[in-house]
């Protein structure tokens, strides 16, 4: 292993910090972020076949948002709750990876208040 190239770091395990080296996999791990209900993310990589909504419009819970084709299956993505479309980050034909932010929502109440 290429010890000499790396420097020892302080590494916290419970209440104590240990001097140690970090592995490449540990350094490359994805930090966890609290998922926001206002962000519609792809749960599988695929292609956007259709987009049914427009920015700025309000849609009811259950309204179809878009169709994400993945593994030859057409997944219909729906509104999780009644809200306004703040931003659409995909268009028909977009090929997107997993966990890609497709649509951003905003609360209807906040806007009107």
């Amino acid at each position: 292993m290429e010890n000499e190239k790396q420097e020892l770091v302080d590494f916290a395990v419970t209440a104590r910090k240990y001097k140690t080296l970090l592995t490449k996999k540990y350094l490359n791990r994805k930090p966890w972020v609290n998922p926001s209900p206002y962000e519609i993310q792809s749960i599988i990589p695929g292609t956007i076949l259709e987009v049914f909504v427009a920015e700025g419009e309000v849609y009811k819970e259950g309204a179809p948002l878009l169709i994400l084709e993945a593994m030859k299956m057409q997944n219909r993505i729906q509104m999780p709750f009644t809200a306004r479309i703040k931003k659409i980050n995909v268009e028909v034909g977009s090929r997107i990876p997993k966990d890609s932010l497709m649509i951003e929502l905003e609360s209807v109440d906040e806007i009107e208040a």
Partner: protein, 514 residues
């Protein structure tokens, strides 16, 4: 007189087939920096020991213009030979013959030599270099893969199975290596993936090279699919020879013992470990100080480096070592290190190899990613593997043994036969800081100087509990020994364990947390 003619005809026939895909294809193989399938076998095996079978097997596909195609040996060389005098079965896919693609007859040659290995109770080595299923054969190729996987599973834990990835190995083909005991890869040559870069680009538009997706380094360091990583094919074949010399050749045998040797030990064992439990060191130095001739064949050297596993010899006998590695991630247990150790423990148990555990770990790696990755399920594999193992199990606690990790690292409670501790051992429910914070919470909060009180209480806890004597007073530790006594004690413990007999309730099989 007539025989002479027949013999000459045989020689001629053999010479043609032994050329594989012919001069042009061989040139291409060499240009890729690869040895040919035959060269690989001949380099790995003892001189003149290779005997080939099924040289004249031909495919039976009649569609897609295959009926007039002759494929030498149907793209795979199979046979038997010896490595350092020990018999083995071997097959090598020949990339020069239609890209080493796997058709039904190709697969049947492989399953035949696998069946042979299982009956003869000798190791089976598979050298993979294939473009994948022979598409023209359709379902026949899939059937072939399935028949190989089935045999990999049947032979698992009975004979050693070794896979060498020396070329592409994609789609279904990767599952045979994954089912075998040890996978060897070579930088720039091995490529393994379920869906290749082309599919990923078509579906996602993501461009990635074969090397970055499933090259040797990726599997050796990131995925853990590969156990041994080499910079050249020659180095890789040498690694295989070394491994074969260390392991038993079936589950009914013990590994061949060799002339015992003292460790070369360049470093005094007492000076390897810093007294401060927060300071790291390379635990492999401790292993070198213990093993015969200070030799140690590390498995999974790059993956999950926070735990070290591998084979060394004590008094000439092969031993499996499992050791926390404070040099990486403070030696914590996590998903990968638990998987790594658990499978190795099961390997040792299946093949009658005693296990020596060297313990110095601060606990489990905290973090959302670990919890969500299922560290509970992964960590449990280690508990299962140690508890289930009936081979001699010896633990030496070098320094830290805290909490759940103490239990997991082959504790007395999971059935260790010998529990030894160095005087530097700290066996406690958790690290002193954490414990003092909880136990003396009230005193610390009520003190005028909280930090001073905390320090004092931590110190108290260290003096009272961060040592091996509490556990020793309860009989959980059999002996507190000086570091310099360790090798002598291990040799003795192994001698005493020679006829170890341990019983397990009768069952079809357990249900480990896979």
């Amino acid at each position: 007189m007539t025989l002479k003619k027949n013999i000459l005809a045989l020689r001629q026939k053999k010479a043609i087939v032994e050329k594989g895909g012919g001069d042009k294809a061989i040139e291409k193989q060499v240009a890729m920096g690869k040895l040919t399938a035959r060269e690989r076998i001949l380099t790995l095996l003892d001189e003149n020991s290779f005997h080939e079978y099924d040289l004249f097997v031909e495919h039976e596909e009649r569609n897609f213009g295959m009926d007039d195609k002759v494929l030498a040996g149907d793209g795979v060389i199979t046979g038997t030979g010896t490595i350092n005098g020990a018999p083995i079965c071997i097959y090598a896919q020949d990339f020069t013959v239609m890209g080493g693609s796997l058709g039904l007859k190709h697969a049947r040659k492989i399953t035949k030599i696998m069946d042979h290995a299982l009956r003869m109770k000798v190791p089976c080595i598979g050298i993979n270099d294939s473009g994948g299923a022979r598409i023209q054969e359709g379902i026949g190729a899939l059937a072939g893969y399935g028949e190989i996987f089935y045999r990999n599973t049947m032979a698992s834990g009975v004979i050693p199975q070794i896979s060498v990835s020396l070329g592409p190995c994609a789609g279904g083909a990767v599952y045979s290596p994954a089912l075998t005991d040890f996978v060897f890869v070579v930088e720039n040559i091995s490529k393994m993936f379920i869906t290749g870069p082309n599919v990923i680009e078509t579906v996602l538009g993501e461009k990635i090279s074969q090397e970055d997706l499933g090259g040797a380094r990726v599997h050796a360091e990131i995925t853990g699919n590969a156990h041994f990583y080499a910079m050249s094919e020659i180095e890789c074949l040498e690694q295989i020879k070394e491994l074969i010399s260390l392991i038993p050749h079936s589950n009914q045998q013990k590994a061949a013992s060799v002339e015992p040797k003292a460790p070369k030990a360049t470093k005094n064992i007492e000076n390897i470990i810093p007294a401060d439990p927060k300071q790291p060191y390379d635990v492999r130095e401790v292993i070198y100080a213990l093993t015969d001739d200070s030799k140690f064949l590390e498995v999974h050297e790059l993956w999950a480096a926070n735990i070290v596993i591998g084979f060394g010899r004590l008094n000439g006998e092969t031993i499996g070592f499992v050791a926390n590695q404070p040099m990486y991630l403070a030696g914590v247990l996590d998903c990968d290190s638990s998987d790594k150790a658990a499978r190795f423990i099961r390997y040792c148990d299946a093949f009658n190899i005693p296990i020596v555990t060297l313990e110095d770990m601060p606990g489990y790696l905290p973090g959302v990613d670990q919890e969500h990755a299922g560290v509970i399920r992964h960590g449990a594999k280690m508990l299962y593997a140690y508890s289930e193992a009936t081979v001699p199990k010896i633990t030496v606690i070098l320094r830290k043994a805290y909490g759940g990790g103490y239990i997991a690292m082959n504790s007395r409670h999971l059935g260790a036969d010998f529990m030894l501790a160095w005087p530097s051992a700290e066996i406690a429910v958790m690290g002193p800081e954490g414990a003092a914070n909880i136990i003396f919470r009230k005193e610390i909060m009520e003190a005028e100087d909280e930090d001073a009180m905390r320090q004092q209480k931590v110190q108290e806890y260290i003096e009272k509990f961060a040592n091996p004597y509490v556990a020793a007073s309860k009989g959980y530790i059999d002996a507190v020994i000086e570091p310099s006594e360790t090798r002598g004690m291990l040799l003795h413990a192994l001698e005493v364990s020679k006829n170890k007999d341990d019983y397990r309730p009768a069952k079809k099989h357990g249900i480990p947390p896979f």
